[in-house]
């Protein structure tokens, strides 16, 4: 299975690690060069990914793509890398979009007191994410899974003097460990039944496993996927994760890491194909998350939190897509989402940067005149995420929505269409409130480039160029690759893995794809119209501050409390565990367990006191006792002899 490109794969995997180690070890000396070093190494990594394109799609020795074991833990535990169409797509996004975001960060993080540390973490994240997608076995996947969680933890808590950031980082990590633990359980099931951890072996053995077992494996794996991809009910960490710097939100909490769940389901398609109930579960959770995220998105005021909920919602789409079996549809939505969501986050970063870390859209307004570049970036991003025909988001989202119908899930199809309308509403709401009307904030948008207290200054070309580059794929990549159903370049690229989309469809839908697109577009128009009426119409703009205040006050409690999920977790799990810990630590340990030992000591002392009273200290008393004892013996033996 040796392939010419294999050393390239190893190199593209390890380069970000080298970047991380260099930035970490020599950070204080390299200072600003760290950013360029990290970006450069990721850029090379991207070029290597492009160079190994050919080998990823080759079918060598029965295994698709470049694959070779690297190191062996023990028999059956071989670690190796696998570059096939699926991991190649992820590698492109990780290194390509990653390169742009690292580049952007050079400007965004300029002047931060932990500049080098930031790039060390970013490089480490990319190494971890590449480990995740390039691994050819479940344990390697789990290793990557854990390491991206760590990188995410570091970057959420990057500004660790803020208590909120520290708490958010801990929450994200612990919830992700719940996911890791689920995946570990899946590995136990797999090893116990298949005796191998390699993807190839497991998938080959999948048809021979019982339905129950496959469902259990899928369920355990999906706990991992749900935690990582912020699916209901393990989603609460994602909005909090916005405590990290904005480029982190763009790369990790929008484009790459949170889509790992999508990757997992797409990677394990052979397992899911054997369990209809697992597919239904995943699709349902994806649909619920898409809808729930969208509904919560309508109630947010923080620009990054709006984007976070939209991310959650869009990942819901992807999970739903891969869940129903429309694998290339779900992956396509990941692909386009990575571009337009990174673009939205980076655009939001431009705004936040210029407004000195102001994130509340109520304190914005009228920015389109002051920051036209940011406005146009955000506008194209919003159009793309809403699925306006022609933009990339349109093609991938339609593929997902229509896939639900094709695979016989009309309810999920309906939920998706409703969600599309809500998405349009809250995305345009964000755009209108932040960019239209009159400026409502106190901080003056800063374009002069003067140093502020955090050392931030107006975005320079370092920040604008990557955003501009991202606009291109987020507008055009969908039309270029995903147009044409079974014959689109996208479907043909994935055909060796999954076959063509229509060949797997189990239902001939009563509604054609064209009609679906039309219906989705109409709901999007409706969402847009409501947002326009409420926030952008002449009347709404006239008394915008009062309206926004009123809306804030009247926001339903169920939305401001985020459906009470955090509350329930706190009451049902966190506090009982703490109470139990206090009970064990303050009562059981000192009073019950140690108390038992102390009781032993007490009775030993009591016995001692009793025996002490015989020790009078009178020699003659001792003699008397001695004689009495001897007399007893004599009497006993005399009587015994007499009886005999």
């Amino acid at each position: 299975m040796g392939s010419v490109a294999y050393p390239l794969v190893v190199a593209l995997w390890l380069l970000p690690l080298a970047g991380a180690v260099l930035c970490w070890a020599f950070g204080p000396r390299l200072r600003s060069a760290c950013g360029w070093l990290a970006a450069g190494l990721v850029g090379v990594s991207f070029l290597l990914a492009v160079a190994s394109w050919g080998s990823a799609t080759q079918n060598l020795g029965g295994v698709l793509g470049a694959h070779q074991p690297l190191v062996s833990w023990m028999p059956g535990f071989d670690f190796g890398l696998l570059l096939d169409p699926l991991s190649l797509i992820w590698t492109f996004i990780i290194t390509g979009v990653g390169f742009l975001i690292v580049f952007y960060s050079i400007g965004y993080m300029d002047g931060d007191r932990a500049f080098a540390r930031f790039f060390a973490y970013m490089s480490f994240f990319m190494f971890a994410m590449l480990t995740l997608v390039l691994s050819d076995n479940f344990v390697g996947l789990l290793v990557g899974w854990g390491l991206v969680g760590l990188a995410s933890y570091f970057l959420i808590g990057f500004w660790f003097e803020r208590r909120s950031a520290v708490a958010a980082a801990r929450k994200a990590f612990v919830i992700n460990v719940v996911g890791d633990v689920g995946m570990m359980f899946a590995i136990f099931l797999i090893v116990a039944n298949v005796h191998s951890i390699g993807f190839g072996d497991v998938f080959a053995a999948a048809p021979g496993l019982s339905d129950k077992l496959v469902f259990a494996i899928c369920l355990a794996l999906f706990i991992g996927a749900a935690a990582k991809s912020a699916q209901v009910p393990l989603h609460t960490w994602l909005p909090d994760a916005m405590e990290g710097p904005t480029p982190v939100s763009a790369l990790i909490h929008a484009a790459t890491m949170v889509t790992a769940g999508v990757y997992l389901v797409a990677r394990c398609a052979p397992l899911w194909n054997h369990s209809g109930s697992a597919q239904l579960l995943v699709a349902t959770i994806g649909g619920v998350t898409a809808l729930g995220g969208a509904i919560l998105g309508t109630a947010q005021w923080d620009i990054k939190r709006i984007l976070a909920y939209s991310t959650m919602s869009q990942i819901g789409y992807m999970i739903m897509g891969v869940g129903v079996g429309a694998y290339e549809g779900g992956v396509a939505h990941f692909f386009t989402h990575a571009f337009f969501k990174a673009q939205l986050f980076l655009g939001a970063g431009l705004v936040i940067h210029a407004l000195h870390n102001e994130q509340d859209i109520r304190a914005m307004g009228g920015l389109w005149r002051r920051m036209p570049f940011a406005f146009w970036v955000m506008l194209t991003g919003v159009l793309s995420i809403c699925g306006v025909p022609g933009f990339s988001g349109f093609f991938s989202k339609d593929a997902v929505i229509y896939g639900a119908l094709q695979h016989g899930h009309p309810w999920i199809y309906a939920v998706d269409i409703v969600t599309a309308g809500i998405t349009a509403y809250y995305m345009f709401r964000m755009l209108f409130v932040a960019f239209l009307g009159e400026y409502r904030g106190e901080a003056a948008p800063d374009r002069a480039g003067r140093e502020s207290e955090h050392g931030t200054h107006a975005p320079g070309w370092v920040m604008n160029v990557p955003v501009a580059v991202l606009v291109v794929p987020s507008v055009a990549v969908g039309g270029a690759l995903m147009f044409g159903g079974d014959n689109s370049p996208w479907s043909r690229f994935f055909a060796p893995l999954y076959g063509t989309p229509s060949s797997r469809a189990i239902a001939v839908p009563p509604i054609s794809e064209g009609v679906t697109s039309l219906v989705v577009f109409l709901t999007v128009i409706a969402g847009f119209a409501i947002a326009w009426q409420r926030y952008a119409s002449r009347g709404a703009q006239a008394d915008a501050p009062a309206r926004l205040r009123r809306e804030t006050e009247r926001m339903p409690a169920v939305l401001t409390n985020l459906f009470y999920v955090d509350w329930v977790i706190e009451r049902l799990i966190v506090r009982p565990a703490q109470r139990l810990g206090e009970l064990f630590g303050r009562v059981v340990d000192p009073h019950v367990l140690d108390g038992a030992v102390r009781d032993l000591v007490f009775w030993a002392r009591w016995l001692g006191t009793l025996v002490r009273s015989f020790q009078t200290g009178l020699v003659r008393a001792y003699a008397l006792i001695l004689v009495a004892g001897a007399a007893c013996f004599v009497v006993y033996y005399a009587v015994a002899a007499g009886l005999r």
């Binding site: 009273s613 020790q615 009078t616 200290g617 009178l618 003659r620 003699a623």
Partner: protein
Amino acid sequence: MPVPTGHYVALAAVIFFIGVLGVIVRRNPLIMLMSIELMLNAGNLLLVAFARAWLQNAGQIFAFIVITVAAAEAAIGLAIIVTTFRPARFVDVDDVRSLHG
């Protein structure tokens, strides 16, 4: 005509009980030490008597060992008595109770 062994045993018993009584009743440590010597010698008498009765030397040899031990004991006992009662006027074992529990 040899004296029957039973007589020796009876004599030894009498001597032994005189010794026991002495230890229990008297409070003068010197007298108590002498009473202990009496008990030991009652034992010696038995050892010698039975050695004679069964015609085995071991008992006689053992009697010598007992005498040696008794001598050592008397020496140590007297030393203890002297050191213990040197500061006191009266010689009374009941006054020495520092080992009480």
